[in-house]
Amino acid sequence: MNSAALIVCIGNELVADDGVGWVVYERLKESDLPEGVRLVFLGLGGIDLLEEIDGEEVLVVVDGVQLGAAPGTIHQLGWNQLPDASPRPVSGHGIGIREAISVGRKLYPERVPQEIFLVGVEGKCFNQLGMGLTDEVAQAVPKAVAIVLSLVSGTLP
């Protein structure tokens, strides 16, 4: 399963802007991915991410975020810029990419990709079921897809 790049889209397509990872995943599925690029969808990030990584050169994680920017803003963050999850989560929802990768570095160093990016789309609504993306977030999808493709192709836009 060793490939050059892995794209992991995270989200809940039933929950408004939390579905942005799913929408990006669907778009990427329809696009021509470069050879050696693997695309997967995860409902939650966290520990499940450890099952997917396999020593790729590049890992790109796509997710809806709440970092305080305007809705639709796309954050392209490197590993060192990833925000921490809460230090002690009280539920399985609270384990983030950063924790998962840190655990991976210690336990399965050979599986951890060399370069890790988060493409985070700033969302507006995260608690309403069954309403689809808000307009601002929907409009950001093509750009998010382009950024993901450029990251796995090794050329920044």
């Binding site: 039933l14 520990i47 099952e51 002690r88 009280v90 336990l107």
Partner: protein
């Protein structure tokens, strides 16, 4: 003169879940509220849907316990159609479910509660998390994560997909095990039993140390309540199916009922502090606060049907009595259930009936379909009204965390009262988070977006903030 202390949020999303503490002027906590901001609109999106899609749709509500929703929805559809599924379908569904329980309990024990066990309750929470645990106990964590992964593999193979399973359908399961899958799963399942056996000793040692080191906190988490869980014939634990049993705080079994009678025994109540309704056992005209989940289940059962789990269960009962009211012991109960799930999975994969006819035709006749399952965190009920065209007309769900909310509030109040007087901010936050973690709540089966993770505490008196603490 009273003041309110607000801890907001305890999880990753602001406003997602928080703790409110109402104090009098002497600092005594009068009321505590664990507020879950449920996702809104759930019933609305189900109404009008084609009923046969419910197992897939409801599985997507939650990334933590999708298989519980997936299977209980399929069971409710079986009931709505009035069919009995073939034995092989029931065995396969239960086997898929044991994979899910192994995954979920291993996640709870090793990733969420593990740092409390390894580091105790004192010290710097920024270092005492899963990342710190991996450095302190790499082998233990690696084996725990391996066990979780094996459970997920079982779930994924039978469920068709790991994250959101798709194979359980009204009338059975749309999946046949190939010979290769069968051989592989037998090996993996045997490995789960070996791993669970190997891990239970060290985990128990850590648990006992935590109990001994923190007698005061443990005493404060001793909250009497009623308990609800599921038993099969003979009163033994069954996580997939059976009768719902309710026990009072003295350990007397008060009633047993089937899922379709839940309305007669469980009373839902809306509360101002949360979108989630609180639920009480309604028995002979009075309402009783109760708990569900691993500890509740091991309180209500008479035994377990697998040898390793039964042996550990006997020690549990000899040490902690019936019922055990202490929320911290939930971790021990989880360990016993994890053993059970591995052993039960091994029984199921080796059952000759597993590979038979696994689906019967169904037709919606118009009417209700109600079913329940023991989700990892407690009894989960789905109740649907489906018309003769197979369209959902009404839906109701009772999830584990809302049933535990009343007891969580009581535990927070007692835990906070023991700590508040002169407690440092950080210490108070840690202790209250620990209390919540003991109940292992599933927070609104909800979103996970990255960001806004700071923990904030507001202390208010007469509506005015007099103290604010924020972590990060």
């Amino acid at each position: 003169m009273s003041k309110t202390i607000k801890i907001d949020p305890v999880t990753r999303i602001e406003g997602h879940a928080r703790i409110l503490l109402d104090c009098d002027e002497n600092g005594k906590i009068e009321e505590a509220f664990f507020c879950v901001n449920e996702l809104r609109g759930f019933e609305r999106i189900l109404v009008g849907m084609q009923a046969h899609t419910l197992p897939q749709v409801t599985a997507r509500i939650c990334g933590v316990c999708p298989t519980a929703h997936h299977l209980v929805a399929a069971k409710a559809l079986d009931n709505a159609c009035g069919v009995t599924i073939p034995p092989a379908a029931k065995l396969l569904r239960e086997y898929m479910y044991m994979g899910h329980v192994i995954h979920s309990h291993a996640l709870s024990l090793f990733v969420l509660a593990g740092p409390d066990l390894v580091f105790g309750l004192q010290g710097d929470p920024a270092k005492q998390n899963i990342v710190g645990m991996v450095h302190a106990e790499p082998e233990l964590t690696k084996k725990g994560l391996r066990l979780r992964s094996l459970g997920q593999k079982i779930n994924e193979t039978i469920g068709g997909r790991g994250i959101h399973p798709v194979t359980a359908v009204a009338g059975g399961i749309s999946f046949n095990l190939s010979d290769a899958q069968f051989q592989r799963l037998r090996e993996l399942t045997t490995e789960t039993v070996a791993l669970a056996k190997e891990l239970s000793g060290p985990i128990k040692t850590l648990l006992m140390r935590l109990f001994e080191d923190n007698p005061r906190l443990l005493a404060n988490l001793n909250v009497p309540s009623w308990y609800v869980g599921t038993v099969e014939k003979g009163g033994v634990l069954n996580l997939y199916d059976g009768q719902i049993r309710a026990m009072d705080e003295s350990g007397t079994i008060k009633t047993e009922f089937s899922a379709d009678q839940y309305i007669d025994f469980l009373a839902e109540r809306t509360v101002s502090t949360s979108y989630a309704k609180e639920v009480y056992v309604d028995f002979q005209g009075s309402e009783h606060m109760y708990r569900v989940g691993s500890l509740a289940r091991l309180n209500i059962v008479d035994g377990l049907s697998t040898p390793l789990a039964q042996a550990e269960f006997e020690l549990f009962r000899a040490n902690f009595g019936r019922p055990c009211h202490n929320a911290v012991i939930q971790m021990y109960a989880k360990l016993i259930e994890m053993l059970y799930a591995c052993e039960r999975a091994e029984q199921l994969i080796n059952d000759p009936g597993l590979r038979g006819e696994n689906r019967v035709p169904v037709q919606f006749k118009g009417g209700r379909g109600v079913a329940h399952i023991e989700a990892p965190r407690g009894t989960l009920i789905h109740d649907y009204e489906i018309d003769e065209q197979g369209i959902v007309r009404a839906a109701n769900m009772i999830i584990a965390t809302q049933q535990n909310t009343a007891v969580i509030n009581k535990s927070l109040k007692e835990g906070a009262n023991a700590l508040m007087q002169g407690a440092e901010d950080e210490k108070m936050l840690n202790a209250l988070e620990f209390v919540v973690r003991c109940y292992d709540p599933c927070l609104a089966c909800a979103t996970h977006a990255i960001g806004r993770m700071a923990l904030a505490v507001e202390v208010r008196r007469d509506g005015r903030i007099i103290r604010e603490i924020r972590r990060n």
